[in-house]
């Protein structure tokens, strides 16, 4: 057993010290009938063999280094500078446990304090914790926190229908059995006023996404108006945001958010087939004692030197047990470190550039695709890097064609989540897409539109455009 250093001789000496005859004797407390079961597992492999097997498995996949990717929908193909993974891979970072013993964990603690600081800077909030499992669970924990802030007296939550469908699912999972009223998911897409109308004195929080799941960007003014309405009822205003968008656009802290959550993956973390990612969670100072997750605070050592420790632990399960604000223990510390290194590496200007490139390229793509007969760009108002296109054929058909014939990963099939958006695709463009790739996508889309059709396309869904504010446009 190559991972076990001790030899038979060592074991013999140790058994003698323990006063036992054989290793099997150590397990006398285990019911005999169930003791030492056979495990039917594939035979053990050496390192050489396991790497061969894994390389073969990896090679069976079509990866984004060999494809052009226009898929986002919550996981984003942004550039990760080489320095991020290099630093992350420092043994002392990735083989450490949670920094409970602060004096020999200053590396993790200071890096996380800096993470908190940069997340605050990015979101415009007062406090950030050190991460949740992902954007979806961060959103769910925001709802749970809102319920706590509401002291159990507020039993309604309003969820925007253009909050990421998986985030909404996770909120439902987390709150099942709590007899909660979750409203808003059948409101017209993109209609902030309709959501505002649902908020009342029983509402714990309203949660919206900006840019929303369909890519639409709401102006700070609209958002502030919504915030004001929410605050008037005493509920919390929770905003889920794409952190890259915050490189360019006003932070939720500037338009009244009480909590800002989101998926931190786009900042320095590989798409990695869906995880590990990190959920970021930033809030106002006033709510911090009701919040979940680890928080690092600054302090001093015996010599008066600055140092960092985990703080406000009395909220946490290991101290407060059943009264804890959440059960979270392990979080996504290393991914938060990646995000921190990413933010520091990109810095003030780099993150903005990434956002700008994504913005301009996405708009360029819209210009091209909008000219292709058969396609209709449904997104009309401001958007960041994602937009919705109605297609002349089923999205899965198009995507398979793009993959097989052009090496392109197409967009997200919105019909899965929004019945009105059958044959609508959500496309995503980032700084990773060169102009030639975008042009190739347009070419490919044109080609398939001209081909014999197997599936059939139906009428466009009603995706509210920017002019929806005036409540007039018909909802479906």
């Amino acid at each position: 057993m190559v991972y076990i250093p001790n030899t038979d001789a060592d074991r013999a000496a140790m058994l003698a010290a323990v006063g036992m005859e054989s290793v099997a004797d150590l397990f006398h407390d285990v019911p005999e009938a169930q003791r030492f079961p056979a495990l039917h597992l594939p035979p053990a492999l050496s390192e050489l063999e396991v790497l061969r097997e894994l390389e073969a498995l990896a090679d069976e996949n079509d990866d984004l280094h060999h494809l052009a990717c226009f898929l986002g929908a919550g996981a984003y193909n942004h550039f990760v500078p080489s320095v991020v993974d290099f630093l992350l891979h420092r043994s002392e970072f990735f083989t450490a446990y949670t920094p409970y013993q602060a004096e020999i964990s200053q590396g993790t603690l200071q890096a996380h304090f800096e993470y908190q600081s940069m997340i605050c800077a990015l979101t415009g909030m007062d406090v950030s914790n050190v991460s949740h499992y992902d954007g979806a669970t961060a959103a769910a924990e925001a709802v749970l926190m809102a319920l706590q802030v509401g002291r159990g007296k507020r039993n309604k939550v309003v969820l925007s229908p253009t909050l990421h469908p998986q985030y909404r699912e996770v909120i439902h999972t987390y709150t099942q059995g709590m007899r909660l009223d979750a409203l808003g998911e059948d409101a017209p897409l993109g209609d902030l006023a309709a959501l505002a109308a649902l908020v009342d004195k029983e509402t714990a929080c309203l949660i919206v996404q900006n840019p929303d799941f369909l890519g639409r960007l709401y102006a700070p003014g609209e958002m502030q108006a919504l915030a004001d309405k929410v605050h008037a009822t005493g509920a919390l205003f929770v905003v889920a945001a794409d952190p890259i968008s915050l490189g360019l656009f006003q932070p939720p802290g500037a338009y009244g958010a009480d909590v800002v959550v989101g998926e931190g993956q786009p900042m320095g973390n590989a798409v990695s087939f869906g995880g590990p990612y990190l959920g970021f969670f930033a809030m106002k100072m006033g709510d911090v004692r009701k919040s979940a997750g680890r928080i690092v605070g600054q302090t001093v050592d015996l010599d008066g030197e600055r140092g960092f420790v985990l703080t406000l632990s009395t909220r946490e399960q290991h101290i407060r047990r059943e009264k804890a604000s959440s059960n979270i223990c392990s979080n996504e510390a290393l991914n938060a470190l990646a995000a921190a290194i990413y933010m520091a590496a990109m810095g003030k200007h780099g993150l903005r550039t990434v956002a700008e490139l994504s913005y301009h390229k996405a708009h360029f793509a819209v210009d091209l695709i909008g000219q292709i007969p058969g396609y209709q760009v449904v997104s009309q108002g401001p958007f960041f890097k994602e937009f919705v296109v109605r297609c002349p054929q089923p999205v899965t058909t198009i995507n398979q064609f793009l993959l097989d014939e052009y090496g392109i990963v197409g967009g997200y099939d919105l019909g899965q989540d929004y019945p009105t958006l059958k044959d609508h695709v959500l496309l995503c463009v980032t700084e990773m897409n060169g102009r030639a790739e975008i042009e190739l996508l347009a070419e490919a889309l044109e080609e398939i539109a001209n081909m014999e059709v197997t599936g059939t396309s139906e009428s466009a869904g009603h995706l509210n455009d920017r002019r929806l504010d005036d409540e007039e446009t018909a909802h479906d």
């Binding site: 004797d25 020999i104 909030m125 087939f273 399960q317 290393l334 590496a345």
Partner: protein, 485 residues
């Protein structure tokens, strides 16, 4: 040794990363949306690298020294795992790609589901939960939904031993259920009399019981079969906290003992690094009766065309996170399992338990060990209590250990043992390392009597002196000022 904050080394105009020029026409930004300033730091690559390299050097990790942190299974993180997880064909997959473009990744997940089910004796496994506590939530939600679906909607009590990890009661409350605590008997087992009494009282309301076995005292419950029987008899389900699974791989399958649900801590038992607190993976296994309730999608294999497909169990509690789980962690766990095989897994537990018993035997008489008369499993709980050194506490011993390049054991947990020092050596440490640890623990016990200030002022060689945690909580500084909103 201190390191300035990244903001403190920032200077206007510096950059670490070059980005492409814009190769498409620019589109004007929508009016009123642009942010005025983005107060992130500005540092060049050279300073960025130095900053994080120096910070890293202020950490203790498994790769720098012994790390006998009880309940955390700080074992070797094999480097092959890192190579595996970084293969482009894994790391560069978008979770929403068409199934036929990710069959290799799905095959890996499928095989991992199967292996985990086999090892613990379960019918089905979900890989979606992101950590142990997340798995607990998953499990408890499954238990409730299963019972509710059978019409038993009155059930809202979960029994939790007093030795339980904090996540167990916290999970219970978070699920909207009530915690009823069960005390331990003199031998560290669940007190059967108390259990019977509680079941008599709460039986009809019982959702189930959460138990880690071996428990947090490092003891295998001598009446586990009876505990399971009693809970089942009361109509409840048995939840296994698998954080201590490292003790019983190939020794016993929790499913065989009658556990209905269990989470695995892949980042403990299956050697994936802890990363300073995460990411983890809290895969959950369940008995056949509960299989339809798993969150998903999980991976199913079609017998017809041998393709792997996403499958949402029909009565699922719903997804517990976006996508499918912490795939990077799964790759590492898979790699580890494939390298060990059945014999290797059993050897893991045998050696983990032998190492713990060896340490327990050698520390007996030096520090009190409340259940030192029993055979422990992969860990045991000593106490930082020394005759002739009344002023010395567990924390002093812990901090002094740092001076010898060792991470302290888990301190003050479990709560039922005063001044607890919970010691888990793991199977990947050699006898020499254990012997060195014993020598140091003996020396510290001696110093406690002769030079107590050495302990009180410890650590002496760490990057910082002892830190003031009280001040941190009182004078909250949670953010570098210029960055805060």
């Amino acid at each position: 040794m201190t390191e300035p904050l990244i903001y403190e080394i920032s200077r206007p105009g510096r950059r670490a990363v070059s980005l492409p020029a814009c190769d498409v026409p620019a589109t004007p930004l929508p009016a009123g949306c642009e942010r005025a300033d983005l107060p992130l730091p500005e540092v060049p690559e050279v300073d960025l690298v130095r900053h994080y390299v120096r910070l890293s050097q202020m950490n203790h990790g498994i790769d720098t020294g012994f790390y006998p942190l009880g309940s955390c299974t700080m074992k070797l993180n094999p480097k092959v795992n890192e190579v595996a997880a970084r293969l482009t064909g894994f790391a560069a997959l978008h979770p929403l790609q068409p199934e036929n473009s990710v069959q290799g990744a799905m095959a890996l997940m499928y095989e991992l589901q199967e292996m985990l089910a086999e090892i613990a004796g379960f019918a089905a496994v979900t890989l979606q939960p992101a950590a142990g506590a997340h798995g607990e939530l998953t499990g408890v939600l499954i238990m409730r939904k299963y019972l509710y679906d059978r019409g038993e909607t009155q059930r809202d009590v979960i029994l939790v031993p007093d030795s339980a990890h904090g996540t167990n009661p916290a999970t219970t409350s978070m699920s909207g259920l009530r915690v009823v605590q069960v005390s331990s008997d003199a031998r560290g087992n669940v007190d059967l009399d108390v259990l019977r009494e509680l079941l008599a009282r709460h039986g009809p309301k019982l959702v189930g019981m959460m138990l880690t076995n071996p428990n947090t005292l490092g003891l295998f419950d001598e009446h586990v079969a009876e505990v399971v029987r009693l809970v089942h008899e009361a109509g409840g389900l048995m939840y296994g906290d698998g954080a201590n699974f490292n003790a019983i791989l190939g020794i016993v399958k929790p499913g065989d003992l009658g556990f209905d649900v269990m989470h695995y801590n892949l980042h403990k038992t299956f050697s994936t690094p802890h990363g300073g607190g995460g990411p983890g993976s809290g895969a959950v296994g369940v008995s056949a009766a509960l299989a339809d309730y798993l969150p998903g999608p999980i991976v199913a294999k079609s017998e017809a065309d041998s393709l792997y497909r996403w499958h949402m169990p029909p009565r699922t509690i719903g997804r517990v996170k976006a996508f499918y789980g912490n795939f990077g962690v799964l790759v590492r766990a898979y790699t580890y399992l494939r390298m060990l095989g059945a014999k290797g897994l059993r050897a893991v537990s045998e050696n983990a338990v032998l190492n713990a018993n060896y340490l327990q035997a050698r520390l007996r008489g030096v520090y009190p060990i409340p259940h030192g008369d029993r055979t422990c499993m992969h860990e045991f709980v000593a106490q930082g209590i020394l005759k002739d050194a009344p002023d010395i506490h567990t924390m002093d011993i812990a901090k002094r250990l740092m001076d010898f390049g060792m991470h302290p054991p888990t301190v003050y947990f479990p709560l039922i043992v005063p001044e607890a020092l919970m010691i888990e050596p793991t199977e990947t440490e050699s006898k020499e390392t254990l012997d060195t640890f014993v020598d140091v623990m003996r020396q510290i016990a001696e110093e406690a009597r002769t030079e107590p200030e050495l302990l009180h002022d410890a650590p002496h060689n760490a990057p910082v002196k002892r830190l003031d945690e009280v001040k941190a909580a009182k004078d909250l500084v949670l953010c570098y000022a210029p960055g805060c909103g």
